[in-house]
């Protein structure tokens, strides 16, 4: 069965600093990978996704992620964090073998931005 590990439960960065959120996955085939952001009281918003092709994926709000098959990783990065980026971030792997796209999520990383 697939699994996702987000080793950092909490991360604090200063506004304007760079950010990297780690994600490691376990999946038997080529994975479908996603990063979602969740603000308090809000649903999950998709930041970016990787299905195939270029391993560096650009997303919304200036985020990017790099798929590294050899490391089973899909880390999320942003060059300069804004205070509005404070939220919880979830990495997920998709399983399409059942016909749909059943997502398995990590436990999330809570990002705090210091002004």
């Amino acid at each position: 069965a697939q699994s996702v590990t987000q080793p950092d439960i909490h991360i604090t960065v200063s506004e304007g600093a760079s950010l990297e959120l780690r994600c490691n996955y376990s999946y038997g085939a080529t994975p479908y990978l996603f990063w979602y952001v969740q603000s308090p009281g809000q649903g999950l918003q998709l930041l970016l996704k990787y299905f195939s092709g270029d391993t560096l994926v650009q997303g919304i709000k200036g985020f990017e992620a790099e798929f590294k098959r050899s490391q089973s990783s899909f880390n999320l990065r942003k060059p300069s964090v804004h205070w509005s980026d404070a939220a919880e971030y979830f990495c997920a792997v998709g399983d399409i073998t059942g016909g749909g796209n059943k997502l398995t999520f990590g436990t999330g990383t809570q990002l705090k931005v210091e002004l």
Binding site: G43, F90, A92, G98, G99, G100, K102, F105, G108
Partner: protein, 113 residues
Amino acid sequence: GAGVSQSPRYKVAKRGQDVALRCDPISGHVSLFWYQQALGQGPEFLTYFQNEAQLDKSGLPSDRFFAERPEGSVSTLKIQRTQQEDSAVYLCASSPAGDNEQFFGPGTRLTVL
């Protein structure tokens, strides 16, 4: 256009009560998913519909949980004889045919006392 909507947004139930949670997916979306998100955790898959057919219910934690989508649009997640461990946010997501991106609703926060 309108996104995925869920109602109620908040539900408080006494232990043993039955509850019904509603999901209105984006119009025309073929696939519909339910997830359960416990406090401090990531969402966990419950069940998946393609149109009106429930193709995967492997994540439903017990036979007290039941989901339906009779006309292939609105879906209802029903929990019978609620227990305290059922307290969580229940998220619904939908996606169009041939697309692996899921669009999530705001969730229903269920508290069982």
